[in-house]
Structure formats: structure tokens, C-alpha cells
């Protein structure tokens, strides 16, 4: 997860320059920016466009196409909840509602205290151990509502 110190054009430029010569550099650059800041700030668009000789519209089009790229800083923890079929068959919808109720957010949003961003994801490749979730890049399996509570409490203790 990013340390989220806020947008910084110099740091962004440094990351862009590391990667700009790769063939098809746009996705690697956007990932690097999200890695650095936790999201892709709109101020990055002209920088990326100019580095890759693209129009602002082209870069914006790519950023907005992919589910991964966030347009604003996420909470301190990012919790991705799988709601694909294998997880559905093991009751993920119930667990997801529990998490939504517990944190007081809907999928795709961040808690008011900026503690958690909760996102839907369609398959984490852990379908024999459903329901699956990913917390700050780490995969968990057989996540009942109780396990989800445990993960949330544990993350809170460490933030």
C-alpha cells in the first residue's frame, strides 16, 4: 500500500521517466503512479500524456477504462471482496452485506474516517476456498462474516 503522502509532481515525473521508454508504457506508468500515491491524480494526466506523446483524452480514456485505477486516494486499508460465482455459491453476498453494514459503506467507497476502502472484485483465483477477499494485497480464503470481522479488527489495530 502507498504511504499516501499526497500528490507530488516531482515524484510522479520520476516514476514516469523510469518507465516511459518501455513499449506500451502507459499501463506500467499508471500502475507505478497508483503504487506511489494510492490513486492516479488527474494532475498526472498531462505529465503522462506529454511523456508518451499522447493526447490528454487518450490518457484519460485509459485511466477511466480500467477498474483498478482510482481517481482519489483510498483509505488506509483496501479491502477487496470477491463477488463472482464461486464465492456466491459459498454465501459471499451475506458476508459482503455484513462488511458493508459493519463499516457503514457501500462497495466502491471509503469509510468516513478514511480507514477502509471497500471494493468489489470479480474473482481472486481462490475459488476452492471461497469466499475470498484481499486485504491490502494479501489474499484470504474461507472468509465468513466472523473472519471478515477479525480481519477488519486486526487491520484497525495495525493502522
Amino acid at each position: 500500500m502507498s504511504t499516501s503522502q499526497g500528490w507530488d509532481a516531482d515524484r510522479a515525473l520520476a516514476r514516469i521517466q523510469e518507465l516511459e521508454r518501455l513499449p506500451g508504457a502507459l499501463l506500467p506508468i499508471l500502475h507505478a503512479l497508483q503504487d506511489e500515491f494510492g490513486y492516479v491524480d488527474k494532475a498526472a494526466i498531462p505529465l503522462v500524456a506529454s511523456a508518451l506523446n499522447l493526447s490528454h483524452a487518450e490518457v484519460h480514456g485509459v485511466v477511466s477504462f480500467y477498474h483498478d485505477f482510482r481517481h482519489e486516494a483510498p483509505g488506509r486499508h483496501v479491502l477487496k471482496l470477491c463477488r463472482a460465482e464461486a464465492c456466491q455459491s459459498m454465501g459471499c453476498e451475506k458476508m459482503i452485506r455484513h462488511v458493508e453494514d459493519r463499516l457503514g459503506v457501500k462497495l466502491g467507497s471509503t469509510t468516513d474516517d478514511r480507514g477502509f476502502t471497500v471494493e468489489a472484485v470479480y474473482c481472486l483465483g481462490n475459488c476452492a476456498l471461497s469466499p475470498a477477499v484481499m486485504l491490502d494485497g494479501k489474499l484470504y480464503g474461507r472468509v465468513s462474516s466472523d473472519v471478515a470481522d477479525f480481519l477488519i479488527d486486526d487491520a484497525k489495530r495495525h493502522s
Binding site: 513499449p23 500502475h31 477504462f65 460465482e85 464461486a86 471494493e119
Partner: protein, 530 residues
């Protein structure tokens, strides 16, 4: 020699505590001053037993599982290093019926070797396929793959050798090999397992593909939901470069092959090969019109082989043992082995590599042991979110591309998701349309607009609003999607929808739920960019 203890470093094993188990093992080794080491192998694919710990003994590897970190000191006390009995004792790993009944060709090494040890890889038959390929002409390599009957394991089942021949016969200064590792279908994880558990086999397969078609550069397009596999691939590729198996002089052959992993960004559609290529080029993952085929005009406009992970990871054994060896497994036009992934509400979920021909029932009951919940099985979805829902009466369908197609289903990437009797197929049909709406690339109207209309119509059907007319409307909509969509997403989304209606009509004929009881799930809202 120091004793080896195996604790999987596979992401699924770690999702249920393998990391803590490995640490507890290391702690015990230190505190007890033992001459032993912990190897982080891939998973054997028996996920209900994960974390599955193995210990090397003169008799063979002995398994214990599922192990928790708390139980590790007790295992040492019980003498598990000498294969002594314990509550979690499972006996010789190879004798566990689930594994013993399989025919592991592509997954021959997965779970057995240290995934990042090149010497382990080579001593278990690795790079023998490449060695033989280097004695053959490109035409002969392509011939070998064609004769093996290998078909694309990504979903469409297109013969791999034919793709390769087209690329070989298209002249260009630069050609590419692209591995489609955008394993987005729910119920599938075979690609992830092989990339984490035996990454060199993929590297070897891609290298052979490169030599066969005259490509010097390769990319692995990996979905971002697999960060662990991405790191594993990066490490394995770095090792292969370091040891001369990648780069300007592969294995001393004087031939070049470069390989780079690239991360996707959460778009299901990028598993479609032309969207994948657009994405690799740094564009929106919108599909391309075909023709031209990627084999003629692919990545950066150059001839490109695009194959699934499992297809490419199967190439080394075909080259090593010969096409006839591989062909001899399987049935009809489906040759070789299929990597079945048992998923969802299943007692013994896991990877089953078997010759084509096993029936769904055998896979689900003989291997999978029935539902995890213990309730009656009601529906099975094979082939991912675009696959049909089959009822119990179709469970005798053999796992074979043609047999599934005959029953208006799809085998796809081999994922099998089991549902018990708590499933509501009207909701599953709605989800299929909703998923299509979330993941549509937006290029063609039937998929972009039709999927949203599909959700609305199914909502009306569930709410018992002009049900008969709306079911007819849904049928028309599905026809438009099937006939009018540019790619498989829109084209196949009617499969789950129509199979649900065909096989489970009672779920579309219930009284309307009260508004408070019916809470349809909303897709993740995309935030508008201001």
C-alpha cells in the same frame, strides 16, 4: 543432507495460513537445533487440506494437513519428521487417492519442486523439451504441437499448432509470443497455480513457442488480482536470465528470447486476445475487429502468438515426450489432459488433471466429494461466467469441448462451480447480465447496452411484472447478443441466462418478493471523473 519440509508458498495455501505455518516450522527448527529446511513449494491442488505440509522421508513424502501454526510444535513433539502418526497424518502424498487417480502432465512438477530452483526444475525433467526443440526446425516444432492435438486451454479450444503455423508462415522483422494470463473466470485458478508453483515450465513453453514461430520477444499479461503470481514470475524470469535460459543466447543456442511480465488493471475483457493486445500496447482494452487475426497482425501490428498459460505450459512435455505420447490421452477431438478446477460449494475443491472424458458427475462426486454444505447439489456452472448452468440431469456430460457444446454449454478453462439447493437461478441470470454490464468494453452496442437492458428485464421478471412478455423479450435480447456482439463476452452471456431459464424454469415463476426482501446487488459504482 538436511531434511526438507515442504510448506506451500501458493497464494491459496497462504490465504488459509501457510505463511504462519512456515514461520512456525522455521522457529521449531531453530529452537530444536534441527538439520532441516523449509521449502516453499507450489500447491498440490488439494485445497481442503491446505496448508498441506510434507516431510521428505526414505519412503517418500509424507503429508500432514490441514496444519495450523498452533499445531506445529505438537507435530514436532509427535515426531512428524520421522513420519510418525498424528491427527493430521495423511500418509504418502502420492498415495492420496485424489492425487493418485490423476494424470498429471502439465502439472507434473507443481507442488513437488521448489518453484524458484532451476536445478530442481532441470532434475525433474525441466528444459528437456527445449533441448529437443533446439534440434528441430521451426516447422518440425510446429508440426509436433499440431500433431499432439493441443487445443487452446483459455476457452475457445482452438488448435494451438494451427495458430503457430500462421505466425511462422507470416514474414516480419519482429514477431511476439504473448501469454494470456488474464485468468478471469470464476472457478478457475490453474494458471495461477502453475505460475506460482512451476513458473519455469511457462518460461520454457514460451521460449519454445518463440523458436517455433521466429519470435524473439514475449510478454506475459497477468491479471492484477494475482500480485503474488506476478512477484513469483518476476523472480523466476530474473533467475532464467541469470542462468542463461533467457536473453540473447538461450541455453547456448545462439538464439534470442526475451520475456517480460506485464500487469493488467482489472478488466475481465482483457482475457479476450485482441483486448489483451490493446491493453499491452497501453490502450483501453477494447476488442479489435477480426480479421486481421493476431497471428498475422497482433501486438504492435506484428505477427503474434497469443496462448493461454496452460497451453504454453503444456508445450514442454509435448516436445519432451513427443506428440504421440500426449495424443494418447483424451477422447474424440479433445486430446491430452484437461486441468479441471473444482470450485465453489464443493467439499474437496482442487485441481484435477485428467485425460479428457471424465464426466461432470465423476469430477464432482468421485473427486470433489459433493457439496461443502452437505445440502443437495442443484446447479453447476462450468466454463466461467459465460458458461451454462447445468442441472443434476446433465451431470453425466463428459468433460470434452464438443460434448459441452452439444448441450449448449462451454467447457472453457475447465472451472467447475458447484451450487447447492440454496441457489436461485433467476438471481444468477441477473448476475450474468450485471457482470456483462460491468465488464463490457463498450465497443459494440448489443453488449454495452444489451447487458444493462438485460438486468432491467430480469428485474421485472423477478418482480412478476408482465412476466410472460418479459421472458419473451429476454429471449429476443439474448438472440441479439448472440448474433450481434463482436466478441465472446456479449456473444456468450446468453449461455448462463438461457440455461438458467431452460433448466430451472421454476425459479422464474415464483411470487414476486416483497420490496424489502429483494435487495439486488449493485455493481461497484464507477466514480465519474470531474
Amino acid at each position: 543432507m538436511s531434511l526438507r519440509i515442504y510448506v506451500p508458498g501458493d497464494a491459496a495455501a497462504m490465504s488459509v495460513g501457510a505463511e504462519a505455518v512456515a514461520k512456525a516450522m522455521a522457529d521449531q527448527i531453530t529452537s530444536r537445533r534441527l538439520d532441516a529446511s523449509v521449502v516453499r513449494n507450489g500447491s498440490r491442488g488439494m485445497f481442503w487440506l491446505e496448508p498441506l505440509v510434507e516431510v521428505e522421508t526414505p519412503r517418500g513424502r509424507i503429508a500432514y494437513g490441514p496444519v495450523t501454526a498452533e499445531e506445529v510444535p505438537g507435530l514436532f513433539d509427535a515426531g512428524f519428521l520421522e513420519a510418525k502418526p498424528h491427527r493430521l497424518y495423511l500418509g504418502l502424498t502420492e498415495e492420496i487417492p485424489y492425487l493418485k487417480k490423476q494424470e498429471r502432465l502439465t502439472f507434473a512438477r507443481c507442488g513437488i519442486t521448489d518453484p524458484l530452483s532451476l536445478s530442481d526444475y532441470v532434475s525433474h525433467g525441466g528444459y528437456r523439451g527445449l533441448e529437443r526443440a533446439l534440434t528441430l526446425t521451426p516447422q518440425a516444432i510446429v508440426e509436433e504441437v499440431t500433431n499432439s492435438g493441443l487445443r487452446g486451454r483459455g476457452g475457445a479450444g482452438f488448435p494451438t499448432g494451427i495458430k503457430w503455423r500462421t505466425v511462422l508462415n507470416t514474414a516480419a522483422d519482429q514477431k511476439y509470443v504473448v501469454c494470456n494470463a488474464d485468468e478471469g473466470d470464476s472457478g478457475t485458478y490453474a494458471d495461477r497455480m502453475i505460475m506460482e508453483g512451476d513458473p519455469f515450465v511457462l518460461i520454457e513453453g514460451m521460449t519454445i513457442a518463440g523458436f517455433a514461430v521466429g519470435a524473439t520477444s514475449g510478454y506475459i499479461y497477468l491479471r492484477s488480482e494475482y500480485p503474488h503470481a506476478f512477484r513469483q514470475l518476476q523472480r523466476a524470469i530474473a533467475i532464467a536470465y541469470d542462468k542463461g535460459y533467457l536473453g540473447e543466447n538461450v541455453a547456448g543456442s545462439g538464439k534470442r528470447f526475451d520475456l517480460e511480465p506485464r500487469m493488467g488493471a482489472g478488466a475481465y475483457i482483457c482475457g479476450e486476445e485482441t483486448s489483451l493486445l490493446e491493453s499491452l500496447e497501453g490502450k483501453r482494452g477494447q476488442i479489435r475487429f477480426k480479421p486481421p487475426l493476431p497471428a498475422i497482425k497482433g501486438l504492435f501490428g506484428q505477427p503474434t502468438v497469443v496462448n493461454n498459460v496452460i497451453s504454453l505450459a503444456t508445450v514442454p512435455i509435448i516436445l519432451d515426450k513427443g506428440s504421440q505420447y500426449y495424443r494418447d490421452f483424451g477422447m474424440g477431438k479433445s486430446r491430452g489432459t484437461l486441468t479441471i478446477q473444482l470450485a465453489g460449494n464443493i467439499k474437496h475443491g482442487g485441481l484435477v488433471e485428467k485425460a479428457f472424458g471424465l464426466t461432470l458427475r465423476e469430477a464432482i462426486y468421485d473427486f470433489g466429494g459433493g457439496t461443502a454444505s452437505g445440502r443437495p447439489l442443484r446447479a453447476v456452472q462450468a466454463g466461467g461466467p459465460l458458461g451454462a448452468y447445468f442441472p443434476e440431469s446433465l451431470l453425466d456430460t463428459p468433460l470434452d469441448y464438443e460434448a459441452f457444446a452439444e448441450r449448449k454449454g462451454m467447457l472453457g478453462h475447465g472451472g467447475i462451480v458447484v451450487f447447492d439447493d440454496s441457489v436461485d437461478l433467476a438471481h444468477q441470470a441477473r448476475f450474468a447480465m450485471e457482470f456483462c454490464a460491468v465488464e463490457s468494453c463498450g465497443k459494440c452496442t448489443p453488449c454495452r447496452v444489451g447487458s444493462t437492458r438485460g438486468v432491467e428485464v430480469i428485474d421485472k421478471i423477478i418482480a412478476n411484472q408482465d412476466r410472460v412478455q418479459n421472458l419473451e423479450l429476454l429471449g429476443d435480447l439474448c438472440e441479439v447478443l448472440t448474433d450481434g456482439s463482436l466478441c465472446a463476452l456479449g456473444g456468450l452471456i446468453p449461455f448462463p441466462v438461457q440455461s438458467a431459464i431452460r433448466h430451472f424454469p421454476e425459479d422464474f415463476d415464483k411470487p414476486a418478493p416483497s420490496p424489502s426482501a429483494y435487495r439486488p446487488n449493485r455493481a461497484q459504482e464507477t466514480q465519474p471523473w470531474h
